[in-house]
Subunit: 417 residues, 4 copies
């Protein structure tokens, strides 16, 4: 039965349920049938949604009840100029190097123009540095114990038996490595925050499966009973200090030093004015707001890069845990250069798995030269994190400069009165 | 000159800059030229990205440097059953009513299936209640004063002159209403948090423009000088307590009471087990994580609904400020029903403006019956907020039940040993 | 029966309980008996604890089971020089004016010396400005409703009936005024944050009693049932963003502009060095720590002032919600002055009630000229808040300068190598 | 010159400065002279403040500019019944055991009575369990680097050279052990959070001195320059998530299981009613308040115990990072017992150093049997932490029960209508 009209009719008549269509037809036909059904039920015409241009089957790991696709405009900014060469004798270089066009998908007008302006200034300044300073995808199950005595006993056992737990966890994955288990006790609940190096995968699923395996040992060897594989100390897609402080996924930071002349010529303001705006807005303003995000709009750039490259869109939440600093560095001649940095505490990215395999997303990763696993493993995801960080840096620079120059302009008007 | 190859060559030769192409060709040709240029520069084939199916011109307000589109799989869940009828004599009813299919665009497999399961249970339970309990889009400029004496003077002036500021602000908009100006002082910085009823628009731009107009009066009548139109007490796209506590956009809450039998039959667990998992994970776990989000994965549902309906994807950040509660309500016969709720403090949504006019997004809003302005103004955005909240509730229910039932299952195994 | 030995014996023999002694003897004898009992039980000699020098009866409202007193060393710093004269035509002057010695009780060596150094610099700079920018003691009961529909109904009723609730609340107090009721909804819980002007009292009890009265009306007129008179949105003695953002008790800010020469002569460093230390430590460091306190050690000064003047010691928690800013303000001649400020969001102080009536505490308030109610009502507590703020400012200045000068010193050594 | 009148006159005439008096007379005379001076300047009579009963010299390490003492009423509660026996084969027992009277100094009426009521219930229930689950006093200096490349290099060096840094740090102390150095990067700032086992000392000074020594090595071996010995990631006396999540000083948790009958007889309510009040107030209410403290009034008990035993009063700030849980545990017969716990993430206590040597404070520690160093080292401070935790637990129990029973009472009245 591959006639979508017929299938839609069967759904309408209650003979088939809406999620069962793929059992009776190929994926595209099933999607069409579902679309037909919804069109009739809601009196709509879903032509555009139905006008997707990939085989529906390729989206099977990514969606259920498919009716088509959302088409989000995509553009490019750049090149993003990253200085990835090794900068120290001990080898702490960056993973990304050279110039990369960065694809961004968004519906927010002016975003790409703004980021692009910032990237141009960064290029003229000789490029940005970027480093992944920490890496660990986390999953934190919660266990029930009878009370604090058992909690202490459980924590002690876990601490003493890291190797056994690592062996169990790593038996479920060919790539992942267990880096750490951090225990937290609250009354009769014990939380164990497992952290993994998941290489080029964002790694949430890998971490979950591996942790599940380790939990079985914890349950069999201690008095603790598993209540939930995620106890929210992970913390996935929640605005949590634990991520902002300790990181999740990649902790990545990027910076650039922009000569004073360049600030004036291209950004039409001064290092001092930008630094002031950053301090009053991003530092003091965020402080007063009780915020975990001390930036102007880092989430904008991250969200657009995530959409383009097939990342988990809801993890924009953690990406917003970003601190932006802008300082005027005085030179000997009395003029000032602008030092600007962004530090994203918890950027969860991958170049394999998840949405990265979908056609448009896969092509977007190709633009960056980062599709699939890196060599060595993990280097592609590192590089993606670094490039997104430089994109975010460009966005911060551009917006802060706009604020500062507008202010300077009005200051000039004031003087002109 | 409308040959994309020629245009791409000009970019390559430095005669044209990448963002200038729309000046020399129609939007689709410009996008093609840009794509050709990027393909050559990066050695890629961007066929899928180029395979978008809307006139590029329609995306002009939404993107610069367009090369095509990201196609994100879209499905539907539902129907979402919302009891919107007025439930009290004084008229505090909900804006959404009846059954609605909710379109979701995502790359996270199993999400729609999970939400759909939760929605089925909610329907069988008679539907969910949902209410927008607060509404106000905010913009908070920061001003420089010489010190606290001037700060106090400025705050006093602003408090005394709300009407004049409202008049100025509202002169820039046909729909927006200024609701409140909340002042905050930190040393020589004064922040004024303007809150607007922006009706069916998400309203960020409206609020910014209106606030800019009001700022001119503040600058001319007080000693305060504007430093930045946004001083981060707004707070846009940052994980800030001010939004979690005071709200931004819509504060919306949804709940349902599920009979114990239904919990057992359909969710294969008990109200007590779900309540326990929620308390240990969403309440205590989030507490220990220093979180502003006390939920399991509300951001997942919101992100997918935002993508489908053309909302600002980066505002998923604020949407994650959600508290989920689950309680076992004991009945006289000793059995327990499950009370479940979600409260989204800061859900920023609109049915006009932004990405809502793009073809697939517009159709998604039509599925909901909420495209364009509502009658009365604001009711469509209210209803969208309520439906998304019920979707998030379904997602929470489904995930918590899965955790609790898996646990129950393993508990049963334990007993069997 | 007024022989303490006999009373102690009766406690030992189980004939009397330890808290019943005041029923059988005067307060000093009861305390002695209790001390004797504890000495025997624990094999200790509590001579010093018993060597208090006030009539035990005066402590009756402050303690139960008294055995004596803790003696905390008290010193003075100052004078604290506050410029309280009206500085604007519209009268937003400060409550404190002129020079005041500030008594501090502490066991932390070097604290008074440090604060004193800062105060000396402030005096030479012409004194500090200080302003109470917000005032409101809060109490937030939590109510149970059946769900969000009732929650919305309750909130609407409360908003519509502010006057009736104010009348009820104010019927319980001769001084307090209800300023505001802010409603918050989380599922089936409704929180109402009542804010009062409690004049010269810290006002926690006043606010609790008044709110209790208002709650009866809420319960009788709406479907809501009171669960707890405090629902933690108050929020008393907890580190809560709601206090840091919206304030509790007095929001008070103090600042000073210190000429560059003075920074060099007296603090042995420069405005730039202090500003850098403040930015990296108090702003960026606190940001990374997920903190609500962006200061160096404001709590030290507040705790010592609270102890000396009979404030509620546990409310040091809220006092720590302080933001310190330090900026170099460039002069025309190229040199820089130092602008320094502290903004305490939630400083809960009173000059009547609580511990303020005890002998040593009462004398400490007399040193400040602030014992008892002010004229107009509230002005004494305002002035106390302002003076403590200037004390905190001095502590911040002194510590930051010490850090910066040590750094400068070692920088000089570096150059010397 | 030992005549206080003469000394006071010299201060008045400007011949001596107020802090120089100890150079010209013994400490008591100096304090008297200073008091005389202040009395004349402020027109006050400081008889009570001057009526302290310890040799002023003993307070020399604790105060400057002494004029006398604050006398804070002290009482006792208890006994505090702690089950410290080893409860597991691997030895994770508690440090405190048996019954202890707990001295509390406060001016908040009803506090001791409330705690005492809770302690009585705990005793009848067989005592509470308490465990220190983590221990580490922290100090986190901030360093300046040129940018993220140097930051990464510095972090790498520090990680690779833990042993050398530990050796340097530990060379400054006979007891302290360096446990960990956690690096954090924000742009061109590097923060290193050093954590020490400081045994029976609270350890702030020990940690500072040891860290200072280690910093010299960091400065000489890496490009990093020290800006401030404390960069606020420590974080001392600030309401910071890093402490609430990762702990500072002792992380200590205490709990008790109270039979349902006992809840009814002694607390006049039910486990269910208490659990409900705790969930709506301490969990959900604190969640909505953006709080790091999920408790009712833990800071009250801690502040009073700190004052009595000579702890650093300003560190009540961190003590407030406490989570209280209360659950009804159903028995087979259908009735419910009450499980109650408190988890204090960051309780900074010591039994040596600081204010612990002052006469009344020292006696208070003797009441607890915990004066001076423990055997093994650290066990006295551990035990103090555990006993204070049980005190806090009692306070939480008592207050929550009061709220719940009042509610039950009014519920009964409702039924009676």
């Amino acid at each position: 039965m591959t006639d979508p009209e017929e299938l839609a009719a069967k759904v309408r008549e209650g003979e088939l349920r809406i999620h069962e269509l793929e059992e009776h037809a190929d994926h595209d036909t099933a999607a069409e049938a579902r679309r037909l059904y919804v069109e009739r039920e809601t009196g709509t015409d879903l032509e555009s949604i139905g006008d997707y241009t990939f085989p529906a089957e390729r989206a099977e790991p990514n969606i259920e009840n498919m009716i088509g696709a959302a088409q989000i405009p995509m553009g490019v900014v750049g090149p993003v100029d990253v200085n990835g060469e090794e900068t120290s004798s001990n080898g702490s270089g960056g993973a990304a190097d050279g110039e990369h066009y960065l694809p961004l998908a968004t519906t927010e007008g002016a975003l790409l123009a703004s980021v692009n302006r910032g990237l141009g200034v960064i290029r003229t300044a000789g490029g940005a540095d970027a480093r992944v300073t920490k890496n660990g995808m986390t999953r934190a199950p919660v266990f029930r114990v009878t009370g604090v005595a058992e909690a202490a006993e459980t924590v002690e056992w876990v601490t003493d038996n890291f190797d056994a737990l690592a062996e169990a966890a790593e038996s479920t994955t060919s790539h992942g490595e267990l880096l750490d288990i951090e225990p937290y006790v609250v009354g009769d609940s014990v939380y164990l925050r497992f952290a993994y190096d998941t290489k080029d995968a964002m790694g949430m699923n890998m971490a979950t499966i591996a942790t599940g395996e380790a939990c079985e040992i914890v349950e069999s060897e201690t008095p603790a009973s598993l209540v939930a594989l995620s106890g929210n100390l992970c913390s996935d897609k929640k605005p949590a200090a634990i991520n902002a402080v300790e990181g999740r996924g990649r902790s990545v930071t990027a910076d650039v030093l922009i000569p004073g002349e360049l600030v004036e010529e291209r950004l039409h303001t001064t290092a001092d004015a930008i630094a002031e705006a950053n301090t009053r807005k991003n530092l003091t303003g965020s402080a007063k707001a009780g915020s975990l995000g001390f930036n102007a709009h880092a989430a904008n750039v991250v969200a657009a890069a995530f959409l383009a490259t097939g990342q988990d869109e809801a993890q924009v939440v953690e990406a917003a845990n970003t601190i932006t600093t802008m300082d005027a560095r005085q030179r000997e001649d009395g003029t000032s250069d602008l030092y600007a940095s962004v530090s994203l505490a918890s950027l969860e990215v991958g170049t394999v798995g998840g949405g990265t395999k979908l056609p448009t997303q896969s092509e977007a990763l190709e633009i960056l030269g980062l599709r699939g696993g890196g060599e060595p493993a993990g280097s592609n995801a590192d590089a993606l994190a670094e490039i997104i960080a430089v994109g975010a840096l460009a966005g911060e620079l551009s917006l802060l400069a706009a604020l500062a120059s507008r202010h300077l302009a009005s200051a000039h008007e004031d003087l002109g009165r």
